[in-house]
């Protein structure tokens, strides 16, 4: 009889951890709220820096965890600890016991309509990064014009914004914006594409190359300054205002499409879990690791482990690496008990 390890969340973190746990000889049980595995990544189109397919990544992971137990469209009713065993009750009546629980609840995209000034949901041609990925994956979106002449990207929507309740940088939006700018430029070569940024944070492997490519090969314009407000002109175009902070001058431009780079906020489920078993929340609103350097995948509770964006904004490779690390941490923990 293989030992159960309950994994909360069936995104790439949960799947990767399940894959490793299967190899290590455990019986991972994934509890996923939605109807499919893959989490946010399943909704993305291409992943930077090599423009590899997000679908392929998710498909591969799904194949790898075919032997794992997966509960889709399932929620936790309760999570309780008795001595060193956690009892998990699901809303479908299933009761699981497990000595280790991995929280891989991930993030939630910031609700762009909260930034009312950008008019998401109010103006006809304002979309989010996630909408754009879905469109590139084939979903129809009549907010995206057939032949846009000018397109804007607003970085840091709901990130680095105390007024929006998020002080943290969402880390991936700069690169995502550049990636999406390039993808739109490929589809609409005639369009002028403007990226409105506060700082460009292109920290990862080959991300800076992305930036140069966008400038040199695609002519994407980068404007340092946050968009302050969006209005609609008589012909239904968007007029945005910003300050060019490098020139110290106010600026406006008319656009046919505005893409809001919604940042990451901690999935509220993580907070509910935290209440249930007294996990700590860090100052950035994400789950607090036992140690942000040495033990990012461990909680303050024995047997509760973390992987991925539940502890902070992460890229996909970081998430996968953490999932692998968490699997090993769980294994070590269970062996030593």
């Amino acid at each position: 009889m293989k030992e159960n390890v309950v994994i909360i969340g069936g995104g790439v973190a949960g799947m990767e951890a399940a894959k490793q746990l299967l190899t290590l000889g455990y019986n991972p049980v994934i509890v996923e709220r939605s109807a499919q595995l893959g989490g946010h990544v399943a909704g993305w189109h291409k992943l930077f820096p090599d423009m590899s397919s997000a679908q392929e990544l998710v498909k591969g992971l799904r194949r790898d965890i075919a032997e794992a137990n997966v509960f889709l469209e399932t929620r936790l009713n309760s999570l309780q600890r008795t001595k060193s065993v956690y009892t998990v009750e699901l809303n479908n009546g299933v009761r699981l016991t497990s000595r280790a629980v991995l929280i891989a609840s991930g993030f939630e995209l910031f609700d762009a309509s909260k930034k009312e000034e950008y008019g998401y949901g109010v103006y006809d041609h304002v979309i989010t990064n996630a909408d754009l990925e879905a469109w590139m994956n084939g979903r129809e979106d009549n907010r995206i014009p057939a032949q846009p002449q000018s397109i804007g990207f607003v970085h840091c929507v709901g990130s680095r914004d105390l007024k929006a309740g998020n002080s943290q940088c969402s880390k991936v939006c700069c690169t995502t914006a550049i990636k999406q700018a390039i993808e739109l430029k490929e589809r609409f070569p005639e369009a002028e594409v403007y990226c409105f940024y506060m700082d460009l944070r292109l920290f990862g492997k080959k991300y800076e190359d992305f930036y140069i490519n966008a400038q040199r090969d695609f002519g994407v314009h980068f404007i340092r300054g946050r968009v302050s407000e969006v209005g609609e002109t008589i012909d239904g175009r968007l007029q945005i205002k910003a300050e060019d902070t490098l020139l110290g001058k106010p600026l406006k431009v008319q656009l046919d499409l505005l893409v809001l780079m919604s940042g990451m906020v901690c999935n509220p489920i993580a907070k509910q879990l935290a209440d249930k078993i007294r996990l700590q929340i860090d100052s950035d609103g994400f789950l607090k690791s036992r140690d942000n350097i040495a033990a990012i995948g461990e909680s303050n509770q024995p047997g509760i482990f973390y992987a991925g964006a539940c502890t902070g904004t992460k890229t996909v490779p970081e998430t996968l690496a953490e999932a692998r690390a968490a699997a090993l941490s769980i294994h070590t923990y269970l062996m030593n008990q």
């Binding site: 309509s113 009312e116 000034e117 008019g119 998401y120 949901g121 109010v122 103006y123 006809d124 407000e229 209005g231 609609e232 002109t233 008589i234 239904g236 007029q239």
Partner: protein, 356 residues
């Protein structure tokens, strides 16, 4: 424009507005700018809607203008405001409605500050006591008078004689709503509809049959900006901001502008003349400007009051084009007759903008 998106936001920003028993406070400057507006407010609320609207001649300025012009410190303003609240408390009211947007913003700001810093409130109570031996209760409800008209908009619609509909075409009139900056920009939750898409005036326009125009510079200041107008050296900046708004709304061809702030209608009205003098450009049809109204004036027109009783002859931009569209009857000859029917003489007319 996705109307449902706006409705969702409007539903997020609603405030509780009691239906009756208000302590009414006038604005310092509205009497001079558009003298009939405040009188029309009391007329409509008391006589048409039958509400209890208490007023006392002992109230003063709230200090907002001086505060925003950086001439008096905050504690002074707070003490003045505390006295206003004391008058309300003494009169036995707990619902406070100022006619001025800056006052409304001022009160909202002070109440919020006291909520955050109770020790400050205690000090102000002490100041007030030392100054004039008065004590006060904070108002239970604070609403701007436009909030009240908004609140009673459907009752006004029921009694309406004219709607905001072009009588000839049957189309809704296209109205620009301009909200005073101090209404909700500081505290979005204090305003009906929030700061980005305020509903307080839009709601009136919609109820009375008109259509609201959402133009790019909708959020922009009217140009008054206190210091910008009061200091003559800055006045060019003031009019430039107004100009920017008109340039932005021009392609939409608005039939009228409705405002809820003392300064806004004044500057949107008068600067049209100055802009026409300086650039030769007018923004209405056939050389006319775009008529600018306070919400009380518009409510008065909807309820069928005589335009000249509403003081519309004191507008710089001619209101007649809108009256014609709405089908409001008026006697052009009576425009410059005083209350005693004596001829006040027609003022000199500018050449750059048609003023009837």
């Amino acid at each position: 424009m996705i109307y449902e998106g706006k409705q969702k936001i409007w539903s997020d920003y609603q405030k509780e507005i009691p239906d009756d028993h208000w302590y009414y406070v006038r604005s310092c400057i509205r009497q001079n700018f558009f003298p009939a507006s405040e009188r029309m407010f009391t007329e409509i609320t008391r006589n048409v809607l039958g509400k209890d609207m208490y007023e006392t001649p002992f109230h003063t300025t709230c200090g907002g203008i001086a505060y925003h012009a950086d001439t008096i410190p905050q504690e002074t303003v707070m003490t003045i405001v505390a006295r206003q609240f004391a008058l309300m408390t003494e009169a036995g009211y707990e619902n406070y409605c100022p006619s001025c947007i800056t006052s409304f913003g001022n009160y909202a700001e002070i109440l919020e500050t006291w909520r955050e810093f109770p020790e400050l409130e205690a000090r102000i109570r002490e100041n007030l006591w030392k100054a004039c031996r008065r004590e006060f209760n904070k108002p239970k409800y604070l609403a701007h008078t436009s909030d009240l008209i908004y609140h009673w908009r459907e009752q006004i619609r029921e009694k309406a004689k004219h709607l905001l509909i072009n009588r000839e075409t049957g189309e809704p009139l296209r109205i620009v709503e301009h909200i005073g900056c101090h209404y909700a920009k500081m505290f979005p939750h204090k305003g009906v509809g929030g700061a980005e898409y305020p509903y307080v005036l839009a709601g009136m326009v919609e109820s009375w049959g008109g259509e609201v125009i959402d133009y790019p510079e909708r959020r922009h200041c009217c140009g008054y900006g206190f210091r910008q107008y009061h200091v003559k050296a800055n006045r060019g900046y003031s009019v430039s901001n107004t100009h920017k708004k008109f340039e932005s709304m021009e392609p939409f061809h608005p039939d009228a502008i409705i405002t809820n702030c003392p300064g806004c209608p004044y500057f949107l009205d008068r600067w049209q003349y100055v802009i026409a003098e300086q650039t030769g450009k007018t923004y209405g049809r056939n050389g006319y400007g775009i008529p600018v109204f306070t919400y009380e004036e518009l409510a008065g027109l909807v309820l069928g009051y005589d335009p000249w009783d509403l003081g519309l002859q004191l507008h710089q931009v001619a209101v007649e084009p809108l009256l014609d569209k709405m089908g409001v009857e008026y006697d052009p000859k009576a425009k410059y007759l005083g209350l005693n029917k004596e001829d006040l003489m027609k003022p000199e007319m500018p050449s750059s903008i048609k003023c009837c």
